[in-house]
């Protein structure tokens, strides 16, 4: 912006400001990551690493065993993402909308409490929910029983049909605080005068939300969606903590993260295969990149950010 010195001079301060971050980031993150992604073009034959081009990708998509697992994980991952989009974000928005009510009492208490699951580790969350949902310990069946809905209980985590949905909901439970906070911030940034103008016109309560607030926070919702997308397609820990690396039952909770982990690092008797593992990682990276680009160029560019 301002260069107090003459043009040709190197602005050392820019370099000084950027250098530490760029160095640490490049050395400890980018270099290892690309070093790893590079492995996807190699394979190990007779204890030596040979370059095989895109062979690993052909295996991943062409070989029935691999591709079945891959598509299963991808489909599960989309479901995982869909549930977050359909449950987490609407709940987050709803909570934020309630919280942003100007005269609400105890708002800061609610806000903090609802954010607490987000700060817990996956180990704790996975373990706690396994306990609560466990048929053995009986908290969930007991509670359903108390409201006369015992018949609705099923050992959800153990049933192929429910396990993924259940875990997605646990994840929703854990992370709902993030969209809530971001939307809350967005709602607060809507000027009071606009809402009052609406009030004078009779647009209050729900219609104020639908007709005024929601359109105005759409850009934030867009950003939250893309953050959710990236986080979901990178997810791994919760499934791993709750269901193990085999993402049971019968791979019904397998998502790209667990699939990649299992392949890359091996599991029990299965030997780690860094080459296939990084192949999957590369594909994950590509999927996320495509998603982000679609968002940036397809949606973000069309969405207006309102200056208040």
């Amino acid at each position: 912006m301002s260069d107090p010195h003459s043009k040709p001079k190197i602005r050392w301060h820019i370099i000084v400001f950027l250098a530490p971050a760029v160095l640490v980031y490049t050395a400890v993150m980018i270099y290892p990551l690309f070093n790893t992604l590079r492995l996807s073009l190699f394979s190990e034959v007779e204890q030596t690493r040979v370059f095989v081009g895109l062979q690993n990708f052909r295996t991943l998509f062409g070989d029935a065993v691999w591709s079945a697992q891959f598509w299963n994980a991808l489909a599960n991952n989309f479901w995982f993402f869909l549930i977050h989009m359909l449950v987490q974000n609407p709940i987050g928005i709803a909570l934020a909308a309630i919280l942003s009510h100007p005269k609400l009492r105890f708002a800061s208490f609610y806000r903090s409490a609802i954010f607490i699951p987000t700060i817990l580790s996956f180990v704790i969350v996975g373990f706690a929910w396994k306990l609560i949902l466990s048929p053995i310990w009986g908290i969930a069946p007991g509670m359903l029983d108390a409201v006369g809905l015992k018949s609705l209980y099923a050992p959800w985590l153990g049933k192929e049909a429910y396990a993924l949905t259940t875990l997605s909901l646990v994840s929703v439970w854990q992370f709902v605080g993030i969209p809530m906070m971001l939307i809350y911030a967005a709602l607060l940034s809507i000027p009071d005068e606009i809402l009052e103008a609406a009030e004078v016109e009779g647009i209050t309560g729900f219609s104020a939300f639908w007709k005024i607030k929601l359109p105005l926070i759409l850009p934030s919702i867009g950003i939250i969606s893309i953050l959710t997308f990236v986080a979901n397609f990178n997810a791994f820990d919760l499934i791993y903590a709750a269901q193990g690396a085999l993402a049971g039952p019968d791979f019904s909770t397998d998502i790209l993260g667990t699939f990649m982990y299992r392949t890359f690092f091996g599991f029990q008797l299965q030997l780690g295969d860094p080459h296939m593992g990084s192949t999957i990682a590369s594909v994950m990276f590509a999927i996320i990149l495509i998603g982000v680009c679609l968002y940036l160029f397809g949606i973000q560019s069309r969405m207006r950010r309102y200056q208040f």
Partner: protein, 333 residues
């Protein structure tokens, strides 16, 4: 019929009493301007009328009905905000139509009313633009249009022009005056710009510290202020107050003389030295330090060649000077 009657309105925020016993009547078709220093409660009073705040006590009567418990939308009012408060996501047309849609007006009525407002405000070229694509003045017109389509009994304006630059402010001021003539609706207008107050108002309400200081037509207030506050508040440059005046005065009182009523004359009763000259082209202000060490402003029409440091003698007509007593109330000269 009266458009608005306020009776014993009090308003406190917690401990702080912001409005103290406000009584006020706005006649049908009247243009009333609230003026007063910043923080005196103008906006709060307007918001109480709109129903955006509840009065702590007192009644608000709009068009004959007590509306204390009526939500803003059903008070028959429309409000124009300082920041315009346009809906950023809607087009000009959408901004104007939203309130009507909310009232479930038939589409034909909506279209017709919006069209009329658009015509009236000369916005037809912009109906499909978003507020962000409009200039400040256009936004202001849209905000007014949004008020017009509601066809209210009472318009409320809260400093609607303060975000516009000088030239635009003057034009829009005139437009609002014309609008008032056309619609012949009652309007309440908050401002702290006294030019706006003087030029627009049928009736000015001067507020201070949550209390009404004086109510009257602009020229009434200008020519016959009830107290020193009102006298000093209206008029630019503001009135000179002399403690040591060449006239008989109430003890500890002050003599108020408007700058344009001071004349440079030989052997004037006030002597002094020019300390600063402001030449505005159309008129010239002299700042004079009197021999009694008081500062007075003299406003001369046209261009004047008096320079800084010159000794001058000033005089005024006694009948257009005001005397104020030690409680700052008008007193006989």
């Amino acid at each position: 019929m009266t458009a608005l009657t306020l009776t014993h309105i009090h308003k406190s925020f917690g401990e702080v009493e912001v409005l103290k016993d406000i009584n006020l009547t706005v006649e049908d078709g009247e243009f009333v301007v609230f003026v007063g220093p910043s923080g005196c409660g103008k906006s709060t009073l307007l918001r109480v009328i709109a129903g955006l705040e509840d009065a702590t006590s007192g009644t608000v009567n709009i068009g004959g009905d007590v509306v204390n418990n009526v939500p803003p939308a059903r008070r028959g009012i429309a409000m124009v905000f300082q920041s315009y408060a346009l809906y950023p996501h809607l087009s000009v047309r959408g901004n104007m139509a939203l309130g009507l849609k909310q009232e479930k007006q038939p589409k034909s009525v909506i279209d017709e009313r919006v069209e009329k407002a658009v015509q009236m405000l000369d916005l037809s070229a912009y109906v499909d633009r978003r507020p962000s694509d409009l200039s400040g003045g256009q936004r202001q017109r849209v905000a007014i249009g949004r008020a017009i389509v509601r066809d209210p009994k009472l318009f409320l304006f809260d400093e609607p022009l303060s975000n516009l630059d000088a030239a635009l402010r003057m034009n829009t001021r005139i437009e609002i005056a014309e609008l008032h003539r056309t619609l012949s609706a009652s309007m309440i207008y908050v401002t702290h710009d006294q030019t706006e107050a003087m030029t627009l108002a049928d009736k000015i309400v001067v507020l201070r510290d949550g209390q009404v200081e004086q109510v009257g037509s602009p020229m009434e207030l200008y020519n016959n202020p009830a107290n020193q506050f009102v006298a000093g508040f209206l008029g630019s440059p503001s009135m000179n107050f002399l403690k040591k005046a060449p006239l008989a005065m109430p003890p500890n009182g002050a003599l108020g003389i408007r700058p344009e009523h001071l004349r440079l004359v030989p052997n004037g009763r006030i002597r002094g030295t020019v300390t600063h000259v402001e030449r505005l082209g159309g008129d010239t202000n002299l700042l004079v330090s009197t021999d009694q060490q008081e500062a007075v402003t003299v406003r001369l029409f046209g261009q004047d060649s008096t320079g800084v440091g010159e000794a001058v003698e000033l005089d005024f007509d006694d009948h257009i000077a005001f005397a104020f007593d030690d409680k700052m109330q008008r007193a006989a000269v």
